[in-house]
Symmetry: C2
Subunit: 358 residues, 2 copies
Amino acid sequence: MRHEKQRSAKVATERPEVSAGPSVTGRRSTINDIARLANVSKKTVSRVINQSPLVTEGTRERVSLIIRQYGYEPDPQARGLAFRRSFLIGLVYDNPNAQFVVTMQQGLLDGVRGSGFELVVHPCNRQSKTLVADVRAFAQRQKLYGVVLLPPISENNALTSMLDELGCRYVRVASAVLDVPAKLVVSNDRIGTAEAARHLAALGHTRIGLIEGPIGFRSRIERREGFEAGLAEHDLKLAKEYCVDGAYTFDSGIEGARKLLSLKNRPTAIFACNDEMAAGVYQVAREMGLSIPEDLSIVGFDDTPVSSRLWPPLTTIRWPIVEMGRSAAAKLLEGAESDVTVPEAKLIVRNSTAPPKR
Amino acid sequence: MRHEKQRSAKVATERPEVSAGPSVTGRRSTINDIARLANVSKKTVSRVINQSPLVTEGTRERVSLIIRQYGYEPDPQARGLAFRRSFLIGLVYDNPNAQFVVTMQQGLLDGVRGSGFELVVHPCNRQSKTLVADVRAFAQRQKLYGVVLLPPISENNALTSMLDELGCRYVRVASAVLDVPAKLVVSNDRIGTAEAARHLAALGHTRIGLIEGPIGFRSRIERREGFEAGLAEHDLKLAKEYCVDGAYTFDSGIEGARKLLSLKNRPTAIFACNDEMAAGVYQVAREMGLSIPEDLSIVGFDDTPVSSRLWPPLTTIRWPIVEMGRSAAAKLLEGAESDVTVPEAKLIVRNSTAPPKR
DNA sequence: TGACCCGCTGACACCGGTGTCCAAGATCAA
DNA sequence: TTGATCTTGGACACCGGTGTCAGCGGGTCA
């Protein structure tokens, strides 16, 4: 990092380094080169790059041609410096579900492809007291073009008001309407969970257990209410004793299943609000010698790889993560009214559900 | 993006916008502010920031104090522009294992914490003909400080020689020695697989099947050779008919297991070279009515979440991904001889292995 | 005491772009 | 034809840092 030449004691007339500093990095062409070649000022080249209307068609074409010929790409750092804004998008998450994060990264990059933006990942801890300050420093230091917030961090209003205050664009990925549409990509968990409820009801289940997400997560509410709505269509209600808290973890699924399955009149089906907890239910069912789906039907949520590796493969709800990522990217890139349509979450029926034994 | 004021036709004397442009972004302090406050030139402040020895202790302290007081942080874009290098680290991967990628991100960020570097993710397709050109453009455009290559892309020598040519630092994360230590973080798959082999041999297995990784992956060779070495310690050899090709996918695990388990003298244990394939083996075992581990012992590799959700939980090999990430980060940050020690991969014994029935 | 050297500091140019503003050329009305 | 207006493009400053190099004060040596 230290470039300054240390004076050498004796030799006054150092011979100049012949060429090629430490990193060759093959001297890319700059806006000045293009301007010289096209016989215009650098500002005109800049106008062409930024699609300013203040350039005649002829000039524009001449310059564009040379840009293409020389494969010139403007330096994002220099551009950013002048714009007082970078071309980086921050992905802020605290999500135990690796599949979700990686898929979202893919979707976001799909969505910004070709526009010169890059994705900078920023995992963090939602419990941390310095969360807001930390994200603030990140956004400010990098002059982020925009920020994508994944659930459950996306539900943090302190964070979004900080970003508003900073004048930093953001998009929340969330399971419920929290904000204006322009700043939100909604997963609509309700539709998926309602379908799951209908599925179980249609199979003939009436004693249905629910293992919920953690208190304070918006998805907990959404998934539950969607589920109840689906049941209501079949005139079923969720009994209070069949609802237990979970934490979206395998262990909490085990714990929840133990509670539900030790009831005197135990449920014939359990909806676990994510796949990890559903896997916990499998484990308890095995311990208790219950066979799936004959003795117990199970539905999960997420369609992670785990769900199809379980035996029997888990009936679960898949959300369109890639499309949500693309949509989030489109919403960040200004001017993009660009309605990437996000399909709805849908039920994937596998073999963990069947009619109850009578 | 278009900031230039469009001339309005009539009004010649537009009233100047009173204040606060579009993004307030609370005017951060700059090197000039600090210089003025400390009564030194900006260059001196720059020297303090870059820990140049050419500053007297007194001056350094005075300036440092003001920097701290005002919470000044130099703008990475401006710094990068002058340095002809950014403070971004590119993470180049093409890895179906989401858990690995996310964990690696975590480890890398752990490793660069506090040093002002950011991690830019760049998923790509190892089959793509434009892979090298694509990564080259990425590295060049962003003037990346360094690149981290995850397996199996890390094995691509065309990629690394391009990076060398570009003068761009990189670190390969790989399962075998491919390069000088400074550019490599090795996972040492051999040690883990040897331990797996010893484990199975010690249980008394002699007919042991192997489902390998895809041809062309370095990890295929490493894992196999480690496994063979472990067996050799117990005077066992891997029979050719007990070795089948896989592709690190669930489906290829199913296929491989079908082949192995339909042999007349079928193996009593199978080592699948990753957890996904091991999950495929579970599925086939179920279909065939074989119980695990009584009729068939299974060992996987990766310790993904899937492994502990399977029933019975899978005996597998865990590699120290976070530590590998930290180590990779340390190797990129120059001057860091910083030996983050990477512990060895180790066997996690769960319930999918037992002595063979006699 | 003067010549010299050394260590520290700052003026200045520069990295590669963009915003502002003005001038030159083109167009149009009188 | 001339003057007014509009269009187009360029000179210049600036974004926020770093490299270069000259200058300055103080110590050493003859």
